[in-house]
Subunit: 424 residues, 2 copies
């Protein structure tokens, strides 16, 4: 949306949230290192045309159905019921010349019982808010007179399921919070708080083996218990592993990766391996006119003989930029209207070049893996310098100068005053 | 809690929230001028002893009953149900040598039907969060295709009930938000948004007549409609006034002042005029041993022949400081334990000297009334200089350097980047 030429196109955005979340820094907001607002960017700031251009709009709504024949999207307003019973969802239609599907993905539960009810995901700002509230609640509840030792240990046992970058970064942030803030501000219960990271295979499986070992060492040093196991069942206060072990928890964060959303599944379009919306080399949905799909909801069709790209921010960002250029080019060549782009030369295909992966493991340490793929050779770094690269790189990526400024200020105040512990 | 001598006393704080709210700046957080965290101060930062001293604690709980005979308070943990069904409130008791009751007050509804269900108060951070979410939701909903003109006007009609400082400041902030942010970021609907302030008598009745007139002029100039009226009934989308007028609203903020809470009412203690907990000249609850009451929940007993002080932050702050000194003095004289303070000289009585009142009316304008009471003569100012005094004075009162820093940064970014409109 940022790079689309608003002299050519009117832009209409339909989304159930009015902001973009900079997910790579979301884990830091759970423990107060960063503020929630520092990682959220209002869409009206990303593409100001939706705020004032006559034909451009933002609709706080979800997409309910797609009618490619008539070039129409059926929508339904999001009113999150709780606020006022009087607000019934309102149905409306949006006609389009070009449609870009960028639905994202949903956290995978692998059909395990109880995950949705008792675990918290880490994909949206409200997830991070819930984790922060729960963590602070448990810290305070465990300090109440008469609570048993066992219950105290349960309340303060933070369990993270999934050892990908999100799970590892969250565990690192949590152990930083425990070392520098809980030890100072919750002295009465500091001996009871523990972090366990459960992963079925290896942690950070996409990283270089040397970095994986480094991460394992660092996390263990920070007091994070690494457990290899598969979750069978999630109960309100315990998780049951495949081998029958019962693990009591007070906070359960689920970060085992993502899969297609219900709506993506419901779309009757050809799918890529993994059930994503299938796209061709130009990110078009080839079976219907004027439709493109980008980000975590899309994947290359098998016919393209390309592998489906990982669900990463850098893939989505690169696809977005490519598609904006492509649409601007189509528009300039006179193909901007519906059904007018059939004979237009699309130019270069979308080619993804992986810039590398990063993850922080807490205590001013991070991993930077600059290899282009899992099998390739290349530079990899771990330690303080990596952590510095990690912070600098993310600081340059947080969309706006306002958020860049806020993230820097947050980091500074966390350093000086410690993390914020008010439970609001 | 801040000034209590922790070498003499262990401090135990029982409160349903783990932070203090700087209410005078709460209105600014509703529209994004300030961030929520900038006006919330964790109690552990106000009195660090509760975090680590062996006998000092903070309990996230509400007080359920008071047993002055055995010097015991009965408490119940606060778990706000929604988070996990498994958390049942936990009951426990706290024994005390000295008890300070500082329960605050509750928003008054005057028994009007529907206020609790449909209006939002402006006393806690979660109220401000609710107002912000609702305001942004209504701005976005009103932009959806097919919404009728009438419904658009209703959704964007912000009604404030009560013309005290809170109601006036909120109306001012709202009209600032409309002028500088809605006009730029919600251009499609800017003609539909309106603010109405309904007050039964005069606005800012405690202020100098000249200031009242100035406020009326300024608010009217900013587009706030001032209506004299009494609310009879609050329905989900309309309020009904005493004269039968039906006023449709999208956002309803209720700020008609405060009264004693349910728990205050339930305490079988002698009350002051207005139903507050009655105290003597030294802020003691004279009918029972070792008990004091301060802030909005307390008032002078008729027997003292002093008038009940207004429910203001500056009264509560002065009482807190006085009481901390008194308790420290009692402790040093050997009266710190239960039932040991009977023959100790309490020294000076608590005397309240009003420093003046302030309120902002938006657009860099404020009122400063330095008269000591409603009837007294004295200096009063209105305009930009007052606004500057208002900001400076509040900046020095926000408890900690951290929040002082954050408030200053928030004001700066609002000036540069505008208010934040992400609905998180």
């Amino acid at each position: 949306m940022k790079s689309i030429d608003t002299n050519i196109y009117d832009v209409v955005c339909v989304s159930p949230r009015n902001h973009m979340v900079f997910t790579p820094l979301l884990a830091s907001t759970c423990v107060g290192t960063l503020e929630f607002r520092s990682v959220a960017e209002p869409i009206g700031r990303i593409q100001p045309a939706i705020s004032h251009a006559p034909g451009s709009y933002f609709f706080l709504a979800r997409c309910a159905a797609l009618d490619p024949e008539s070039h129409t999207v059926h929508c339904e307003t999001v009113t999150d019921g709780t606020i006022s019973a009087s607000l019934e969802p309102w149905k409306f239609q949006v006609s389009y010349d070009k449609l870009v599907i960028a639905l994202g993905a949903e956290a995978s539960t692998f059909g395990i019982n109880g995950v949705k009810e008792h675990a918290t995901f880490l994909r949206e700002v409200h997830h991070a808010q819930e984790i922060r509230r729960k963590l602070l609640l448990n810290l305070m509840l465990s300090d109440v007179p008469g609570i048993s030792e066992e219950e105290k240990r349960r309340l303060l046992h933070c369990v993270v399921i999934g050892g990908g970058p999100t799970g590892v970064e969250f565990s690192g942030e949590l152990s930083d919070f425990i070392t520098s803030d809980v030890h100072e501000r919750y002295t009465h219960v500091k001996e009871y708080i523990h972090v366990t990271l459960i992963e079925a295979n290896e942690i950070l499986s996409s990283f270089d083996v040397r970095l994986r070992q480094y991460a394992t060492k660092q996390l263990t040093k920070s007091g994070v218990r690494l457990v290899r196991g598969v979750v069978k069942d999630v109960q309100p206060e315990n998780i049951i592993l495949n081998d029958g072990t019962k693990v009591p928890y007070g906070l359960l964060v689920w970060s085992t990766g993502v899969g297609p959303s219900q709506f993506t599944k419901s779309l009757e379009l050809p799918k890529s391996p993994g059930g994503r919306i299938g796209v061709d080399e130009w990110l078009r949905v080839p079976s219907i006119q004027d439709t493109f799909a980008i980000g975590d909801c899309s994947g290359f069709l098998e016919s393209t003989q390309k592998t489906v790209l990982p669900a990463l921010a850098q893939v989505a960002e690169r696809q977005g930029k490519y598609l904006a250029r492509l649409l601007n080019q189509i528009g300039k060549a006179g193909g901007g209207y519906a059904n007018q782009a059939k004979n237009i030369d699309l130019g270069d295909q979308f080619v993804y070049k992986h810039l590398g992966s990063m993850a922080t493991v807490g205590r001013y340490k991070a991993l930077v893996d600059l290899r282009q793929s899992k099998e390739a050779k290349g530079l990899s770094l771990a330690g303080f310098v990596s952590w510095f690269i990690w912070r600098s790189a993310y600081l340059t990526r947080v969309v706006s100068w306002r958020n860049r400024f806020y993230v820097a200020i947050n980091w500074l105040t966390t350093l000086i005053f410690g993390r914020d512990i008010s439970r609001i």
